[in-house]
């Protein structure tokens, strides 16, 4: 049991920070545009594919830097020449535009790299167990993922709170008109934030590709969880996204690790065993099988109790 708890916490942290790398960008972009960017997870996918291709040419380490930079530039271009134009037609148009971008990226990925999953591997230098505990090994690569994500956030946080550029970004999120009249090019700030958000998603893709798989559906798989995260955390709230990422990350890894049935859980909390056959089927479902829908259950629950999400101030 200790083994399950400890490893689930570690894995939950790894997965949670990965989610935060996407949800932070998504929620910042929501803060500026007022619409959810449905293409956000597509940039995560591009990060993984770019890194896969780059790693085979120049090696994993240069790819770790190059892929996010390329994806960030691409994101900035999409904002500059796409979203900014669509903006004047209103939120619905923007929403549909991001949908379109997501579909285009998915189709292009299939066109260029094909349908089957790519064998994007953990780099050899990190392919060893870091430590053993209770007879199980913790892979060095997961520790690396955690390290990268934490380091990036310390860096971003420092920039946002300690530099003039960061202050301009913060102020632009809430008072874009005033910031512009003080002489700052707010549209350019938005483009940069959009680009950085995409680059962050790409970093997540680069480091998650070898673990979660690099295939054309990867954007959808993670993307829907990320949407749940930002809504649960409260749209536009960075701290909300952080808490919700870790919460959902741990929740899911715990559930996957628990090899008990729903019946056992219910009995443990005092619900008597089911008598009828119909309920019996439900009783035998394992918690691990339920894991994928847990985030959505949480979503419904949170929205029922707090429609603004945990830390949000706007209705979702």
């Amino acid at each position: 049991m200790e083994q399950i708890v400890l490893f689930s916490i570690l894995n939950g942290l790894v997965f949670g920070m990965l989610l935060f790398m996407l949800s932070s960008g998504l929620t910042l972009i929501f803060g500026m545009m007022g619409v959810l960017n449905f293409a956000h997870a597509s940039f995560y996918m591009l990060g993984a594919y770019f890194a896969y291709t780059l790693a085979s040419r120049v090696g994993f380490w240069p790819a770790l830097v190059l892929a996010p930079v390329l994806v960030g530039l691409l994101g900035a271009l999409v904002e500059r020449h796409g979203l900014r134009r669509v903006h004047r037609f209103g939120h619905v148009a923007e929403l549909i535009f991001t949908f379109g971008v997501a579909i285009v990226i998915e189709e292009l990925v299939q066109l260029v790299w094909g349908r089957p999953a790519k064998s994007y591997q953990v780099p050899a230098a990190l392919d060893f167990p870091l430590f053993h505990l209770f007879g199980s090994a913790f892979p060095a690569y997961k520790a690396f993922m955690l390290l990268v994500s934490v380091a990036i956030f310390v860096f971003i946080f420092a920039i946002l709170t300690r530099t003039r550029a960061g202050l301009i970004i913060q102020a632009s999120l809430t008072h874009p008109g005033m910031v512009a009249m003080l002489g700052h090019n707010v549209p350019r700030v938005f483009m940069i934030v959009f680009g950085i958000g995409c680059a962050l998603a790409a970093v997540a893709g680069v480091i998650a590709g070898p673990v979660l798989g690099t295939f054309p559906g990867m954007a959808q798989v993670l993307g829907s969880v990320v949407f749940v995260v930002v809504v649960v955390g409260g749209l536009g709230s960075l701290s909300g996204a952080f808490v919700a990422s870790l919460l959902i990350g741990t929740l899911q890894t715990f559930a996957v690790a628990l090899n008990v049935s729903v019946g056992n859980v219910l009995m443990a909390v005092g619900v008597p065993a089911a008598a009828s056959a119909a309920l019996h089927d439900v009783w035998k479902v394992t918690v691990a099988q339920v894991a994928p829908i847990l985030p959505y259950l949480l979503l419904v629950l949170v929205l029922m109790i707090r429609p603004t999400g945990l830390f949000g101030t706007r209705e979702t």
Binding site: L167, I168, A180, M181, L182, G183
Partner: protein
């Protein structure tokens, strides 16, 4: 220095400004007066590029109409909003820092100048702007714009909701700002400070200028005051 002529502005379909014409010369304090809703704020927002406008806005021999707000700010126009639009979560110092347009060239106002002008801001330099009193927030918005080194500053109802003591302070400080060679276009509703510190005044009614002259002219023009100013 600033010459606005035949300025029209719209919010969606509603036509708010019907050809406003006004002028501010080098080093002058000029007031724009009028009742609620006549379009004073809209006029200065239109000059600042924040509201779409048609007509002509000449500033230091350049046409500004149609340019985006950040470009207009860089041409040397400063804007102080009416609702004390500070950044509430940022500290006083950070708010001021955001007013700086060019970090390489020092303007005519430094952070220290601001603190000398308003010692209470120095004491509160590291507190979030949101917890300041109304008067302090007003000082902060003015300083934040000044530190960006504008040649002309447009200030929207700086005395609104302030105690009489503070109103006097604001007036004194506007005079000091003008003495440093910054022109001021002051939007006010009450005549109190406008008539004492301005060189010229404009009165607006229904989206156009209905009176223009020296403060003494307005003091004498009882019919204008009755029709367009008194409530």
């Amino acid at each position: 220095m600033l010459a606005v002529s035949d300025l029209h502005a719209y919010y969606g379909k509603s036509h708010i400004l019907h050809g406003v014409t006004l002028r501010v010369n080098e080093g002058e304090i000029v007031s724009l007066l009028g009742r609620n809703g006549v379009g004073r704020s809209t006029t200065i927002k239109a000059i600042m590029g924040d509201v779409h406008a048609e007509g002509s806005i000449r500033f230091r021999d350049e046409e500004l109409c149609g340019l985006p707000p950040y470009v207009i700010a860089h041409k040397g126009l400063g804007y102080v909003p009416e609702n004390r639009d500070i950044f509430p979560t940022l500290t006083v110092r950070q708010n001021l820092l955001l007013g700086v347009k060019n970090t390489r060239h020092a303007g005519r106002w430094s952070m220290d100048d601001m603190f000398r002008l308003f010692p209470s801001l120095r004491e509160r330099a590291d507190t979030p702007g949101g917890v300041l009193s109304g008067g302090e927030q007003q000082m902060l918005t003015i300083c934040r714009t000044l530190i960006g080194d504008p040649h002309l500053i447009m200030i929207d109802e700086p005395t609104e909701g302030l105690a009489p003591m503070l109103v006097k302070q604001v007036a004194e400080m506007l005079v000091r700002i003008a003495e440093r060679g910054v022109s001021i276009l002051l939007v006010e509703q009450k005549l109190t400070i406008a008539l004492t510190i301005s060189r010229r005044v404009y009165v607006m009614g229904h989206g156009r200028v209905v009176f223009e002259g020296a403060p003494d002219d307005l003091r004498r023009a009882e019919n204008v005051r009755k029709e367009w100013l008194e409530v």
